[in-house]
């Protein structure tokens, strides 16, 4: 029911409602409900761990709440939220790496451990190896791959989110697919 209410408003209407101080809490609640599924999917694919995903998702919305008054609406609200979520994921990964003293080459091992421990997802045969291949990619390349492959976004949409040129994104995606195919080759 609440989900139906949140999706019946457009993003523009929700932002305008947020700027009315009497309705800002209600508006922000609807924004959270409307955009949680998409942002959750993006973050979960990057971080794999469910608890980490919840924390980063929360941080994303807190940042959005702080910045929504100054949101210039030169991009769509969804794009802006995706941008915050992407940056929060990268920041989280870098912070975790420094805090836990995980060297760059062990990031893959760390994510693979998370994949093994992930009880929320049932993997088919071979699918786990596919996810392990994705986990072996550098984080920015992994982000682009997930947005293109799983979320079926266009390069233009991804360019708006990441601030990278379409040409660079195409190259990045192409390299990512080659790496994954190479990873999946039988030894």
């Amino acid at each position: 029911m609440q989900q139906q209410i949140s999706t019946s408003y457009t993003d523009k209407e929700l932002v305008d409602m947020f700027r009315d101080t009497n309705r800002s809490n209600y508006a922000f609640n609807l924004i959270v409900r409307k955009h949680t599924p998409a942002l959750y999917r993006l973050i979960k694919r990057m971080l794999i761990d469910a608890d980490d995903t919840d924390d980063v998702l929360q941080n994303t919305f807190i940042k959005a709440w702080k910045g929504l008054d100054n949101f210039r609406e030169d991009a769509a609200l969804a794009t802006w939220l995706y941008r915050i979520a992407s940056n929060e994921c990268i920041t989280f990964i870098n912070r975790k790496r420094k805090f836990l003293f995980i060297p760059i080459q062990s990031q893959e091992t760390y994510l693979n451990q998370k994949l093994e421990a992930d009880v929320h997802t049932d993997y088919e045969a071979g699918e786990k190896k596919f996810h392990q291949a994705i986990a072996s990619l550098p984080e920015k390349q992994r982000l682009v791959f997930n947005m293109k492959f799983y979320e079926d976004m266009t390069y233009e949409q991804i360019a708006e989110i990441t601030g990278t040129s379409v040409g660079a994104l195409k190259a990045s995606y192409h390299i990512a697919t080659k790496k994954i195919e190479s990873f999946l080759q039988p030894d």
Binding site: Q2, Q3, N25, F28, N29, V32, R33, T36, P37, Y40, R41, K44, R45, D54, L57, Q58, F61, I62, W65, T121, E124, E127, F130, H131, F149, Y150, T177, I180, E181
Partner: protein, 128 residues
């Protein structure tokens, strides 16, 4: 065959469903965090106001207040619309008090001719 065509089945099976229950829980969690942050802002604001006021009071005590302290016997300045008592000590030991009303005038410690004459003709004056 393109990469997407080759691994399309992983594309479909890799879809993540987000339950209504999860959305509700996350919505409540975020609302609580925002309320918490709003609550913290008020004590911080009060603390900063208190520190600012204390700093201002200190500046006034150290730098501004002393400027109002002055030695009346060496007073010499331009002031507007003030009435001052100028106490003059003289050889006889008697004090003559002159009221001076100033309006953009330069004050001199030296008495003018009229006031000297007035003083000399004063009955209580005794020539030593």
């Amino acid at each position: 065959m393109s990469f997407e065509e080759k691994y399309k089945h992983y594309q479909n099976s890799g879809k993540i469903d987000v339950s209504e229950d999860y959305v509700n829980k996350m919505s409540i969690r975020i609302s609580e965090k925002i309320a918490e942050r709003k609550g913290i802002k008020i004590p911080i604001a009060w603390s900063l106001s208190g520190v600012s006021f204390a700093g201002f009071a200190l500046v006034v005590c150290l730098f501004v207040y002393p400027k109002f302290q002055h030695d009346p016997t060496t007073y010499s300045s331009n002031t507007n619309d003030s009435i001052e008592k100028n106490i003059l000590a003289h050889d006889s030991g008697k004090l003559a008090v002159t009221h001076i009303e100033k309006k953009n005038e330069t004050i001199s410690n030296e008495p003018n001719q009229e006031s000297i004459l007035e003083y000399l003709l004063d009955e209580e004056y005794e020539e030593i």
